[in-house]
């Protein structure tokens, strides 16, 4: 039986158990979020023992070199010792500059930070609050251009970060940012011309907004079509901005749909709408964001419509 040494105490791993699950079983409050090896919220550093390559899936090289790994996917068979990475080694201080209500359950949080250039629109970052709570959010704007980083947070009644934001976060409150992470962003150094279809539901709009603004800023040649979906009319947000953007850019169009409408939006399943849009997908790349179940479905829809798997970019939210 292998043990995990954390903060000078030893915890016995059960057969096939991952490190995070073991700590939680022993009532240790270790930061985590997706528990699937994606969000990197539970990032840990191995201080003794042997690291296995698959524990470091998706980590950047500098992290790998320092023996950082993801406890939620690490299943050691030999004793290890771990510690939480120091904030000053992995994260950057930022301050809450503004909180703006976007809809009944979504707020925009604007953060100021010294180095704006490292935060790529569409990628996601981990926000760490003063209590050490960590959650992942996508970069929804052009940080360099705007002078701040904008994140869209869905407010959950029982959500820890939601409640912190609602009741405790003050303007200028200090937070830490770690990242950015993810595969879903605009990358076109050769200035190639192609059509872009972006589809997502809820706050899946955030990364898509970042990608769209990024593409437009770089004078993307080719059509850019955004399809934003929700359950009800009020799930659609940022509409005025998007309509204005469509007015000012001939190659950008904004479409939306909801499952149950009061008459203010098209009533349709986003997957069916995407299928219609992709009736003849020529020279097209797809960007898919949002909750995991919807993303999976939309990715498959795009793929079956004929978009090559390498041209489908996606980071799903795992809640």
């Amino acid at each position: 039986m292998a043990t995990v040494n954390y903060e000078n105490k030893f915890y016995l791993l059960e057969d096939g158990e991952n490190v995070l699950a073991c700590l939680e079983r022993h009532n240790i409050d270790y930061p985590s979020s997706c528990k699937s090896g994606v969000c990197q919220s539970c990032l840990a550093q191995l201080t003794s023992g042997n690291i296995q390559e698959n524990w470091q899936t998706g980590l950047k090289e500098t992290y790998k070199a320092k023996n950082y790994f993801l406890p939620c996917i690490a299943k050691p068979t030999q004793d290890i010792a771990i510690k939480q990475p120091g904030l000053d080694e992995t994260s950057f201080p930022a301050a809450i500059n503004e909180i703006i209500k976007l809809s009944y359950n979504v707020v925009a949080v604007r953060l100021t930070i010294n180095d704006l250039a490292s935060w790529i629109p569409g990628q996601y970052l981990n926000l760490i609050n003063e209590n050490g709570l960590i959650r992942s959010y996508s970069i929804a704007n052009l940080p360099i251009e705007d002078g701040f980083i904008e994140l869209h947070m869905k407010l959950y009644p029982q959500g820890l970060m939601s409640n912190w934001l609602k009741h405790h976060a003050k303007l200028n409150a200090q937070v830490q940012l770690r990242g950015p992470i993810g595969e879903c962003f605009y990358h076109n150094p050769d200035k190639k011309s192609f059509n872009m279809i972006l589809a997502g539901t809820g706050t899946g709009l955030a990364p898509l907004l970042g990608i769209i603004r990024s593409a437009l800023k770089q004078n993307h040649s080719g059509n850019i079509t955004l399809l934003h979906g929700g359950c009800i009319d009020t799930d659609l947000y940022y509409q005025e901005f998007l309509r204005t953007l469509a007015k000012n850019h001939k190659n950008f169009s904004y479409l939306c749909c909801v499952l149950k409408s009061n008459g203010n939006a098209i009533e349709a399943d986003i997957s069916d709408e995407l299928k219609k849009l992709l009736a003849t997908p020529e020279n097209c790349k797809a960007y898919i964001c949002g909750p995991e179940v919807t993303s999976k479905k939309l990715k498959t829809t795009a793929f079956l419509a004929g978009i090559a798997s390498k041209d489908i970019f996606s980071d799903s939210f795992i809640i």
């Binding site: 179940v293 999976k296 793929f303 079956l304 090559a308």
Partner: protein
Amino acid sequence: MSDSLFNRLGGQEAVDTAVDIFYRKVLSDDRVNYFFDGVDMDKQINKQKGFLTMVFGGPNNYTGKDMREGHKHLVAKGLNDSHVDAIIELLGGTLAELGVAESDIQEVAAIANSVRDDVLDR
């Protein structure tokens, strides 16, 4: 090595080309597509690349045990010979579409067939 099946088919590049055509066929075929409900495409594409590399006779890390473990949950859902037949048929259709010679298609089918008992856990 120049005349190995894998090289004749076009190596890794052929795998990358074939995987989209093959997986699209699989997802569009009602005989087998329900086994892929709720599956993540990115992960699945990678697995399919591994599978194609193996049946093309290329370098792969699959073991019989992997095949057995990886399909046990599907066997529990009713995976049987008819589904393996369907997959081999779709594989053949993919290769035919890419202009692969019938004799090479037969060779690929034979390799795919060789893991049948592992896949069906018997």
